[in-house]
């Protein structure tokens, strides 16, 4: 993928609609107005209660690791290994990958505290940079810096 120099970045686009980049990166869910069930894609009616009214809600950026896997065998074009995870963000389960961890079981603990972080997927020919999200351990070792959209670098 062609990396456009940061100087010609003209804008950013989130990897998915439910990632909101500003003012601070966070995830947004559609919450059922009747029962508060949350969905990341659009629903015609709530799968839990059949309610048809939804409101957008911000999902907490802090969470804990519910479960994970280290994918070492991936389809062509997918960078592996990577750590796929389910993160409990204040009662909302979110899927994402772990950032800024070594993809080794010894470095990952079920229940560990995490926070949302972002990384760059590169820019297109028009200078638009796609931004992905993941979760990184809270309190990274000294020398590690949480990546931001501006820095746009994923550390593994």
């Amino acid at each position: 993928m062609t990396q456009t120099p940061a100087s010609v970045i003209t804008g950013q686009i989130p990897i998915v609609d439910y990632l909101v980049l500003r003012p601070e990166p966070h995830l947004r869910a559609h919450e059922c107005a009747s029962c508060a069930a949350r969905y990341f894609d659009r629903r015609n009616a709530c799968a839990r209660c059949s309610g048809t009214r939804f409101a957008d809600v911000d999902v907490p950026t802090a969470g804990v690791l519910s479960t994970y896997t280290i994918v070492t065998f991936a389809p062509p074009g997918v960078d592996a290994p990577f750590v796929a995870a389910i993160v409990d963000c204040g009662g909302t389960s979110v899927r994402g990958k772990l950032l800024n961890v070594t993809p080794a079981p010894g470095d990952i603990a079920l229940g560990m505290p995490l926070r949302l972080a972002t990384y760059s997927l590169g820019a297109d020919s028009g200078g638009v940079e796609a931004i992905g999200y993941g979760f990184e351990p809270v309190g990274p070792p000294a020398g590690h810096q949480a990546s931001t959209p501006a820095e746009g670098k994923e550390i593994r």
């Binding site: 998915v16 519910s66 994918v71 389809p75 997918v78 796929a84 389910i86 990958k97 020919s125």
Partner: protein
Amino acid sequence: MSGDDVWVLGIHMTKFGKHPDKDVVDLASESVLGALADADVTMADVDVIGAGNLMGASSGIGQQVQKQVGQTGIPVYNVVNACATGATALRVAYLEIKAGEAEIGLAFGVEKLAGAGLLSGGAPAAVSADGWTRKGRLGAVTGLEGHTGTSSMPGVFAQIGLDYARRYGGDFELFARIAEKNHAHSTLNPLAAHQKPMSAEQIMADVMVAYPNTRPMCSANVDGAAAAVLVSGERLKKLSPQQRRRAVKISASVLTSDPWQESCQVLPDVSTLTKAAARKAYAMAGVDPADLDLVELHDCFATAELVHYDNLMLCAEGEAVDFFNSRATWRDGATPVNVSGGLESKGHPIAATGIANVWEVATHLRGEAGPRQIEGARVGLTHVIGLGQACAIHILERSAA
């Protein structure tokens, strides 16, 4: 034998493995003719067909097979339900008999998967010439595999296993020892694709696919077919003593889908619907989990088997680790599980699986399992999960005749 019971009259599975010289129609036809011969009936006796082939879901496999073995004008239901496709086809035949529309029903499932790689979880597209473009229900600008986690089957079931481990215990070695058991069991099953014993150490040292699932802890992509002939209790009464003696009663047939759960929006929940199906099946059959002489459950990955000990109530809630460590699920244990070798070694030709597991249990209940016979088996359970999700459970009992 009560008039409104439904029985397995004949059943067959092909050797699972590589069948380069046979297509799905050949494999399915081999199994259908095998099941008809085992039932001692012909296509002329069959009132309905339930048929499944997941990878060729739009091909009309039921009618294709009729053209090989007998076009008699009977209704054909081509069904698709992920890995529960075969069990769903079986249940269609069961329901037709229950409804009084048919006396004898045929069900089959077939798949050719040998050489297929990783199932599900597509590759991300590079940025297109038009620039990043939002697509699909999530407005994704690229394929999400490797970006927002994984949808690959080994990875999904690895997460399901470690979620159980977080709550109740279990680790990499335990999951490997479950695979060790199944590979040991497979050595006695000549129809299994792989019959090689493997130690837990060998299993842990093998190629890692999605931690903690290494390659021998994953179901094997193979070719195969399975077919069953079902009969109403009323019709069975009129059949020969030999047919009545070998008939196996379907004491419960249950199909469920996944009810809403908070976390199922991001990780498939294979537990809630399995528990619901199990509760309903035990009640329908009047059977207690402790009564089961053998269980064939959906070990699509070693991590899944542990979770299903709990879901099928083979142990108390949260105690699957201790249950496995007690050796209860080995073939000489209190509740033998996957004495066929399971999907990890027998293989998992998707649409065939939900009938092949019935074949395994029925063969033991008939006392015809040869060297791997569970002595005196009277009642057994089969379970499949199709991601999406569907869960099918059948409880089978030996004929009293």
